[in-house]
């Protein structure tokens, strides 16, 4: 994964670049929007990390300009503002995801992965599957080993989201955003409870577990 990191705070930038390199990714760092726009239009990246508050320019405007010049590289915005309206503004400007500072590196990485892997699995595909588990999106039918599994609506939505991002870390925050539409973090184990119920239905009766827990981060669905 080749990543462009646009971030004026050197410590944060180093934290991200170092983390990415540890994961075996290639990271290029820019400190201002102008430099970033030139770099983004001359080289090909898998994903761009854009800080919202940059000297001289609002990150939102920079992303808007990138999109106007037909650069479709996925963009994730970093910001200190956590309000839904800011999130909406970011997404409207053409960013693909929005992450509030401070964040855990695992959270950022999971989101980067989700963004870069989005292309192969189209959101429109009607059947999602992993190993012997299949999810039919039109009929909302879930089967494992040809056994029908009845899921509650939230459990179904979680499984669907995990299957849209197979073999990748899906964090608790991502699930809260995607399934419940929360921009805040309820302190209870809302996500854990629902995931554990989902597991009881799709994993427990079978010899192998598909959903794995990444401690303190989230979940991965893989065979």
């Amino acid at each position: 994964m080749k990543v462009l990191v646009v971030e004026d705070d050197l410590d944060t930038a180093q934290f991200i670049v170092h983390g990415l390199e540890q994961q075996g990714d290639v990271a290029l760092h820019c400190t201002n929007a102008e430099q970033a726009m030139i770099t983004a239009s001359t080289q090909i990246f898998d994903v761009i990390i854009f800080d919202r508050l940059l000297p001289n320019m609002d990150g939102l405007d920079a992303v808007r300009i990138l999109r106007q010049s037909k650069i479709k590289t996925p963009v994730i915005m970093l910001t200190a503002l956590s309000e839904t309206s800011d999130r909406v503004a970011g997404l409207n400007a053409g960013a693909d995801d929005y992450l509030v500072k401070p964040f855990a590196f695992s959270e950022l990485h999971a989101r980067l992965k989700a963004l870069t892997r989005r292309q192969p699995i189209t959101e429109q595909s009607t059947e999602l599957s992993i190993a012997n588990l299949t999810l039919e999106r039109t009929t909302r039918q879930v089967k494992r080993d040809n056994t029908n599994i009845e899921l509650m609506p939230k459990e179904y939505q979680i499984l669907e989201y995990l299957l849209l991002n197979p073999k990748q870390l899906v964090t608790k925050t991502m699930l809260l955003e995607q399934i419940w539409g929360f921009s805040f973090d309820p302190k209870t184990s809302l996500v854990q409870t629902h995931v554990s119920r989902l597991r009881n239905k799709i994993d427990k009766p079978f010899p192998t577990d598909l959903i794995k827990t990444v401690r303190g981060c989230g979940y991965i669905i893989s065979d």
Partner: protein, 461 residues
């Protein structure tokens, strides 16, 4: 101008100014009446003279009149003579026969007047021109004109009265100025007193307040009441700030100390990777709680600023609360509690969806944290007069009366040791969300457990 208004609005000054004004008008009116009296006296005198002349003519004939006015010697007074006589305040007289001047002044008119008329005499000598004129017929043939200068007494009286009024105005303004100075001095002294009192209040803002002097009615009492109210508010804010700082300090100190200890342990366990991982895990959890506290503070601040109001939409709160309740149901069940959902369909309100989500989440989490392990928890939603009524409650153990007054305070924790997880911001956020939505939140009394009632207006203003 406003200064003048303030000045005249003082009751004492108002009263004295009013009195002064009324007395001035009365005195001027009396003077005018006196002057009028002088004028009408002169008119009456002239009428009497007319009567006299009539009777003289009837009884003694024309000659008597001529005698009376010494007209034999100077039969005709031309302009110059007339002017001199006028100047000397002598009566100007003219006798006509068949409308032709027979004797007397050539300067008089022959306009018939029933009663004496005020007119102007054009004299060549510098004399006040005002005069009283009368023309009447003695019989078919003879007629008389009379002209008399305005009484010299009138002029003197007029000047005198003008002087009196002028002096009255000047002299009476003096006491008013004195009263004004006295009042201003008193005010200054009072303001100075308030200033000194404020310095005292600043030294112990929680106990000292300004005292109201009941005897005074100069508007400063209202000011003192406002200042005291402001001081109360500031004292409240101050104590909230104190609780908050202590809360923040405590909530940060505990996890940070633990992280420091972990780092120390890591140094000791540097050789065993498994133990190191546990330490890292725990340290990360502790730091996460610090970040959560800050996030909640920032969030609370954002909610209190009211900027969410722009994003208000009509939302179906029935669907929203049912969805949330159903999401939480397994959480309650897993924790050993029972959870009852009772939501009436189709209740709508004007609100920020994200905030209402958090409102319900925080109330449910509060129930989850503070109700007994086997408690019964419920969420109910019904439509209500002009809005929605949401109730989240549990059946025990509830909130002690001592804590009830503080449940919405920032960083307030019923559990003083702060051993339980959480940061005492949950219900503060609930309260802030209610305020933004003009919703009324109540913690019901006389319940076995903690029961919160929230009335959301259908359309918030």
């Amino acid at each position: 101008m406003s200064l003048f208004k303030t000045f005249t609005s003082l009751p004492v000054i108002k009263l004295s100014l009013g009195l002064w004004f009324v007395v001035s008008i009365i005195i001027s009116a009396i003077a005018l009446l006196a002057l009028q009296q002088i004028k009408s006296d002169q008119v009456n005198e002239l009428i009497e003279l007319k009567e006299e002349l009539h009777s003289l003519f009837k009884e003694e004939g024309l000659a008597a009149i001529l005698d009376e006015y010494e007209l034999q010697e100077h039969p005709v007074w031309h302009k110059q003579d007339s002017d001199v006589r006028f100047d000397e305040e002598d009566l100007l007289f003219a006798l006509y026969r068949n409308n032709k001047l027979l004797l007397g002044s050539t300067e008089l008119a022959q306009t018939l007047t029933e009663i004496p008329k005020w007119t102007v005499y054009n004299s060549d000598i510098d004399t006040p021109p005002h005069a009283l004129f009368l023309h009447f017929k003695l019989n078919e043939t003879y007629a008389i004109s009379l002209l008399q200068r305005r009484d010299g007494y009138y002029q003197t009286a007029k000047e005198l009265l003008t002087q009196v009024i002028l002096w009255f105005v000047i002299l009476s303004l003096l006491p008013i100025a004195v009263i004004n100075a006295a009042i201003t001095f008193r005010r200054e002294r009072r303001i100075l007193g308030i200033k000194h009192a404020l310095i005292q209040v600043a030294k112990s803002p929680d106990s000292e307040r300004l005292t109201i002097e009941k005897a005074e009615s100069d508007g400063l009492n209202e000011l003192i009441i406002s200042i005291n109210e402001m001081l109360d508010n500031i004292a409240d804010l101050h104590s909230t700030m104190k609780t908050m700082s202590v809360g923040i300090a405590h909530d940060l100190k505990t996890p940070l100390t633990r992280v420091a200890n972990r780092l120390h342990s890591m140094q000791q366990d540097i050789t065993s990777p498994d133990t190191l991982l546990t330490h890292l895990d725990k340290a990360s959890t502790d730091l996460h709680s610090v970040i959560t506290t800050f996030n909640n503070l920032v969030r609370l601040n954002a909610i209190e600023s009211g900027k969410h109001k722009q994003g208000f939409k009509k939302i179906d709160i029935s669907v929203l609360s049912l969805d949330l309740a159903q999401s939480y149901e397994p959480v309650f069940t897993d924790s050993g509690r029972t959870f009852e959902i009772s939501v009436v369909e189709g209740v709508t309100c004007l609100a920020d969806e994200d905030l209402i989500n958090q409102l319900i989440c925080n109330l449910l989490e509060n129930a989850l944290d503070y109700s007994a392990p086997n408690a019964h928890v419920w969420l109910r939603l019904q439509s209500h007069t002009n809005g929605a009524l949401l109730q989240v409650g549990d059946n025990g153990p509830g909130i002690s009366p001592m804590d009830q007054a503080h449940v919405f305070d920032k960083f307030y924790r019923a559990d003083v040791s702060r051993a339980q997880p959480g940061n005492g911001l949950g219900l503060s956020i609930v309260l802030a969300i209610c305020k933004v939505h003009d919703a009324d939140i109540q913690q019901l009394n006389n319940q076995k457990g903690a029961v919160f009632n929230i009335e959301l207006p259908l359309l918030s203003q």
